[in-house]
């Protein structure tokens, strides 16, 4: 077969040089029959050979190719600019922002550290606190930090009270007392209104709650929402020295302590007080709003008076009128750090029913209805007063006995 292919090639070359098929095949009679159609086909195949393109075709096509080349050149330039410029620009901007933040963050956080709720930079302070907590991985350190932050909330509240500012606040604490609409949450007076969202559970004393509300100029927080806090949540340390001027005692408290020491019937105000009194401060109590309320005297004993079921200390109260059980009383006072209502001024108004006794200025009870003999009553009271030398009246002699 190689011979056939070679002969075909020879024939093709001869034809190309001008020979005709018959002449070419004359030299290869044994292959003529086989080669003839092939050679004729080759001539037909050659018939398809195209001429060079017309100048118009060349010009048009050339313009197209050159245009494409120009476009690619342009694309080659621009992508490289984009490749370098866009990421570079982003990197530079990012670095600039990071640098600016780094440079200003210290000052910003410093400036924000003294802000109070409602200040422009206060969110910075809270955010920075959150960041610190987030990046504190030691459990104990984190817990201490959270407690410190909660203490800071209380300090902020006290500052707001001092400045008489109204601002939205939220803080966590333990419900220490519930006197009608006025509760004490971690020593902060919280007013509960009809609009306060208390949730579904009833709040009891000792519950940990988070209070959201608005500070009032009177030194209270008007609660908008109270949420129960789960066990183990960080709460402010009310015995911590976060309270301003901790350790300082209010003059009234000193007097109260003295009275409790002198008055054997004053356990309620004096018995459990000394430990708590240590954290009390005149500054703090001066911030606390004084309340005025009317009520009926339920009972009284020593320095403790019960009006409308609310125990209150009257040891430092300015007393007007004669205290009697069932008498109407107009009371002004404040809640101390222990949640005890300390009466600063009380005015008794006589009522028709005089079933109760009267209270002298020392708070000693004279039960006239039970004992018409003032001497006896004096001796009784004197015996209970462990030598209260201030007793006046006829009972004084008994006391001396």
């Amino acid at each position: 077969m190689n011979n056939l292919y070679d002969i075909l090639e020879i024939c093709l070359k001869e034809i190309e040089n001008g020979a005709d098929v018959d002449t070419v095949l004359f030299r290869y009679p044994e292959l003529a029959e086989e080669l003839r159609p092939i050679l004729e086909t080759s001539m037909q195949a050659k018939m398809l050979a195209a001429a060079d393109p017309s100048p118009d075709v060349v010009r048009r096509s050339r313009a197209n190719v050159m245009q494409q080349a120009a476009r690619m050149r342009e694309e080659q330039l621009w992508p490289s600019r984009r490749l370098w410029s866009v990421p570079l620009r982003r990197a530079v901007v990012s670095l600039a922002v990071i640098g600016a933040l780094f440079m200003t963050s210290t000052g910003l956080v410093q400036a924000a550290s003294t802000t109070l709720p409602g200040d422009n930079l206060y969110p910075v302070k809270r955010t920075w606190e959150d960041v610190r907590v987030l990046f504190t991985f030691n459990y104990q350190a984190r817990e201490a930090l959270e407690v410190a932050h909660e203490n800071e909330r209380l300090d902020e509240l006290n500052d707001l009270f001092t400045e008489g500012r109204s601002a939205k606040v939220d803080f966590a604490g333990t419900v220490m007392s519930q006197d009608g609409d006025l509760w004490q949450v971690s020593k902060i007076p919280v007013l509960i209104s009809a609009g306060t969202d208390l949730g579904t559970q009833s709040v009891k004393i000792g519950d940990a709650v988070r209070v959201r509300g608005v500070t009032q100029s009177g030194g209270t927080v008007m609660a908008e929402q109270l949420d129960f806090l789960p066990a183990g949540i960080a709460l402010p340390d009310i015995e911590d020295d976060h309270s301003p001027a901790a350790g300082q005692e209010k003059p009234e408290d000193k007097q109260q302590q003295q009275n409790s020491g002198e008055d054997g019937s004053g356990e309620e105000s004096g018995g459990g007080a000394p430990r708590q009194e240590a954290t009390k401060s005149p500054q703090l109590e001066s911030k606390i709003h004084e309340f005025s309320r009317d009520g009926v005297v339920d009972s009284f004993s020593g320095n403790t008076l019960v009006v409308n079921g609310q125990s209150m200390n009257i040891s430092s109260a300015e007393i007007k009128g004669t205290p009697k059980i069932g008498a109407s009383a107009k009371v002004e006072g404040y809640f101390n750090a222990d949640g005890l209502f300390v009466v600063t001024k009380i005015e008794f108004q006589s009522s028709g029913s005089d079933g109760g006794g009267s209270v002298n200025e020392d708070g000693n009870k004279n039960n006239d209805s039970n004992d018409g003999d003032s001497n006896n009553s004096g001796s009784d009271d004197g015996g209970g007063n462990d030598g209260g030398g201030d007793n006046s009246g006829s009972g004084g002699g008994g006391g001396d006995d």
Partner: protein, 227 residues
């Protein structure tokens, strides 16, 4: 000295100088037809167009280099494509596309490292194959069947064109490789050696391929005539 002998003798040094064998062979043929004295040798004339430099410039999409390469190779590519597709407009489009593909490849640093002519013809072959595949999926009506020209004065030309159309149709039925070898041999007029260089085959293989291609084309023409 015979030019073919000169070409073979200089192959090693030419390749080292950045020229490929195919260019040398084709150039020798050009110089022979252009009656340039053989004593001047291929290398002397080829300094007018250094393929390596042209390829380097093409990678930069240098407009002058693009123009030079286009002017040098477009007619050849066009003829090859026209031979295989038969239609002037389609051949123009495909030939232009071959050069755009060259530019794209050069831009992506994937273009030919040498043998630019071989790369262009091979790309043209692929482009034509793509065209045939597309046409196979969307066959178009032949112009002659829808608009027959029966003018007596141009009967002979019509007959000639009809014959060309038949051969073209038969050619399209061959395998791409068979079409390729016929296009190189009878469309481009390349020698057996040149065709072997293009196909990257030895000469005997090209001879056999050529024989089978012609035999197949003859059968296809016979079948078309029969139909």
């Amino acid at each position: 000295m015979n030019m073919n002998t000169l070409g073979l003798a200089c192959t090693g040094s030419l390749q080292m100088a950045g020229f490929n064998l195919l260019d040398v062979i084709l150039y020798v043929k050009e110089t022979e037809t252009n009656t340039i004295p053989s004593s001047r040798g291929a290398v002397f004339i080829m300094t007018d167009f250094n393929e390596q430099i042209a390829l380097e410039d093409l990678r930069k999409l240098d407009s002058q280099s693009v123009g030079t390469v286009y002017d040098r190779y477009f007619p050849e590519v066009y003829r090859y494509v026209r031979y295989r597709v038969g239609d002037e407009n389609i051949a123009d489009d495909i030939a232009s596309d071959v050069f755009v593909r060259l530019l794209e490849a050069c831009r992506k640093k994937q273009g030919p490292q040498s043998n630019l002519r071989g790369w262009l013809i091979a790309t043209a072959s692929n482009a034509v194959n793509d065209h045939h595949r597309r046409n196979y999926r969307r066959p178009m009506d032949a112009l002659s069947e829808t608009m027959p020209d029966t003018s007596p004065s141009i009967h002979s030309e019509v007959d000639s064109r009809e014959k060309q159309r038949l051969v073209q149709g038969a050619l399209a039925q061959l395998t791409p490789e068979q079409q390729h070898v016929l296009a190189l041999r009878f469309g481009q007029g390349y020698s057996l050696e040149e065709t072997a260089a293009f196909l990257n085959k030895n000469i005997n293989a090209v001879k056999a391929l050529q024989f089978r291609a012609l035999a197949s084309l003859q059968r296809q023409i016979g079948e078309v005539n029969y139909e």
